[in-house]
């Protein structure tokens, strides 16, 4: 079986010389297709750094990364946007929607930037917004939506174009407990329906029960929750 995520010996050092700081140290991180993994650990432990490397927005200083069998490490910088468009949907801590665009156009932008025609993009955006329960809010600007609603638009955007991998960094951090749980439930449900592989960074223990597996990271090292049966 091809792993969805196969990171081996991944390390990241920020800066150089006396200021060099090792944020990740020989991280092995494997996720099977369709699995929903939560990455937990104290603040500053390297969760965001690892997620950024998995999301091809940051390059590791050592180790090897494959996504769905496709080698990521060692690729030229200009190839990374292609990988992101092809494989990855993001949900950020803040919603990170484009303030000038309506909910629908935020979702459409992702589709059209992947080559979908305007008509098809509109239809898919509307279907996704309906699926996150915002059919009647699709023409609203982000500023006209509540925090929970914005994060639901962000989920619709992350799932636009059906990426096989969705990465979410503390998606509930800006929400109250109730909205946070609701949004995570929505994300999990939609990803399970689609068979999408998901990695959620969180330290919100109220949503832990939604995960297939919980991986603990401390001081840039994975300390618990390794996938069993993977040859090191």
């Amino acid at each position: 079986m091809t792993l969805a995520i196969d990171a081996r010996g991944v390390g990241k050092v920020f800066g150089a010389g006396a200021l060099a700081f090792r944020a990740l140290d020989a991280v092995d991180f494997q996720v099977t297709p369709g699995e929903l993994v939560m990455l937990v650990g104290p603040s500053g432990s390297g969760k965001t750094t690892l997620l950024s490397i998995l999301g091809c927005v940051l390059t590791a200083t050592e180790g090897e990364l494959r996504l769905f069998g496709e080698r990521v490490s060692g690729r030229p910088e200009r190839e990374l946007p292609v990988l992101r468009r092809a494989l990855i949907g993001f949900v950020f801590q803040g919603h990170n929607l484009i303030g000038a665009l309506s909910a629908r156009d935020n979702v459409r932008l992702v589709l059209e930037s992947r080559g979908t025609t305007a008509h098809a993009a509109r239809a898919e955006a509307d279907a996704l917004l309906a699926a996150v329960g915002l059919a009647d809010k699709r023409d609203r600007l982000p500023a006209e939506l509540s925090g929970g609603q914005r994060q639901r638009v962000a989920i619709a955007r992350a799932l636009a174009g059906s990426p096989p991998l969705v990465l979410a960094d503390e998606p509930t951090a800006a929400l109250d407990a109730h909205a946070g749980l609701e949004v995570t439930e929505l994300l999990t449900r939609m990803c399970r329906e689609r068979g999408t592989t998901v990695v959620v960074v969180t330290h919100d223990n109220r949503i832990f029960h939604l995960a297939d597996r919980i991986v603990h990271i401390e001081d840039g090292r994975i300390v618990d929750g390794r996938l069993s049966g993977v040859a090191a």
Binding site: T2, A4, P33, G34, T48, L51, S52, G55, V57, L58, L67, F68, G69, E70, R78, P81, V82, L83, R84, R85, A86, L87, F90, F92, Q93, G94, N96, L97, I98, G99, A100, L101, D105, R108, L109, V110, E112, S113, R114, G115, T116, T117, A118, R157, P164, D169, R194, G195, T196
Partner: protein
């Protein structure tokens, strides 16, 4: 779920056109969303256009005042005293040049022109300077143009003069038939021109013999010889032939004379003054546009980072800023040129005219587009350097 990575990568590599269109739309939406920045940046362009076009317009107006006589005298070639850089009273030459010119093959007409600086005594006392042009009535070369009252033929009378309509008040309320005094002789107004406002004292016109009498100029002197070529004659060849026959004078083609006047003025104070203020307008506009585009990018840094994270390339973002630059340039040029048109209509008086030639109108949006694109470089550098990973911070 099995994932066909190869197919997804292939799809992600394609769709460039859609992506280009999508980014252009986003660029425009982002621009329109921040109204304050939109207005600020556009005003920067408007400022540059108004100041630069306005200064150039006034400059062109002043140049036109200096070249109008050459442009309207009707000559193909001029014989002028050596070193001449303007059409104004100056050093005189011998009428013998006329015979030499007339004997030159390819010359159809050689007419004398006499320009003297003199003054008109007003009825209530006091006097006003004028550039009195004496021309050859038979050929009309160098005579009045834009005649709005009277008949040029009336200048045959020995005391008859044409004046400029806009200067009627200045010369004490001139009308057809008004009598004034020039050089101790009574003269009569028999016609008016319209819009002949040179840089120096206003033109008045009379038959060349009248001007000789009024200015006490010897009969064998003239200021310029105006040449009309025979049909089919080669201007350059005739000019060379004339130059050989008239070694004490300079033979110059009309377009060259025009260019000489313009370049002489531009090299002097006029060019420096207007060049500086035009450049000043462009530089201020450049700074305003550069700063406001940069601050618009700083305001939206997270959004640009997000666009990168979802897979837009640095080139996609570059295209966005270029599109914004072009829109700012076109919008600002349109508004700016509109204002310049209004202002020049307001300024247009007898002594100052603003000329905004068609080429300047057409060049403005192009120059402004280049200016705005250069001004966006600061913003562009910031956007291109942006790490997509910043969106997780």
């Amino acid at each position: 779920m099995t994932v066909d990575v190869a197919a997804r990568l292939r799809a992600a590599r394609g769709g460039r056109l859609r992506r280009a269109q999508a980014t252009i739309v986003v660029a425009l939406r982002m621009m329109l969303h921040d109204k304050a920045k939109l207005i600020g940046t556009t005003l920067g362009v408007v400022f540059a256009v108004v100041l630069a076009a306005q200064q150039l317009g006034v400059l062109f107006g002043l140049l036109q005042k200096n070249t109008m006589f050459v442009d309207n005298a009707g000559a193909d070639l001029w014989i002028v005293p050596p070193g001449t850089t303007q059409t104004a009273p100056g050093q005189r030459m011998s009428t013998a040049l006329l015979d030499q010119a007339r004997a030159t093959p390819g010359v159809a007409v050689a007419a004398p022109l006499l320009m003297i600086g003199t003054s008109v005594t007003k009825p209530g006392g006091g006097s006003e300077a004028t550039t009195l042009v004496g021309f050859d009535l038979a050929t009309g070369l160098g005579g009045p143009w834009n005649v709005v009252a009277g008949d040029v033929a009336a200048l045959r009378a020995p005391d008859a003069l044409f004046f400029e309509d806009a200067q009627r008040e200045k010369f004490g309320g001139l009308n057809l038939g008004s009598v004034r005094e020039v050089g101790g002789h009574k003269v009569r107004v028999v016609g008016f021109t319209w819009g002949l406002q040179p840089f120096g004292p206003p033109f008045s016109f009379a038959d060349i013999d009248t001007v000789r009498d009024l200015g006490a100029v010897p009969a064998d002197q003239l200021s310029f010889v105006l040449i009309k070529l025979a049909p089919g004659a080669d201007r350059a060849a005739v000019a060379a032939d004339l130059a050989a026959r008239c070694p004490t004078a300079t033979v110059i083609a009309t377009p060259t004379f025009h260019a000489t006047i313009v370049s002489t003025l531009l090299r002097q104070q006029l060019g420096i003054t207007f060049g500086t203020s035009t450049a000043f307008g462009l530089i201020i506009g450049f700074i305003i546009v550069a700063l406001s585009m940069f601050s618009a990018v700083l305001d939206n840094l997270r959004e640009y980072g997000t666009l990168k994270a979802i897979g837009l390339t640095s080139w996609d973002l570059t295209r966005m800023l270029v599109v914004q630059s072009i829109v700012y340039a076109l919008l600002g040029s349109l508004i700016g040129l509109g204002l310049v048109a209004l202002m020049s209509a307001g300024i247009r008086g007898p002594n100052l005219i603003v000329i905004v030639p068609r080429t300047l109108v057409l060049a403005t949006p192009i120059i402004m587009t280049v200016l705005c694109m250069l001004a966006s470089v600061l913003a562009l550098r910031r956007v291109r350097r942006l790490e997509p990973g910043m969106v997780f911070r």
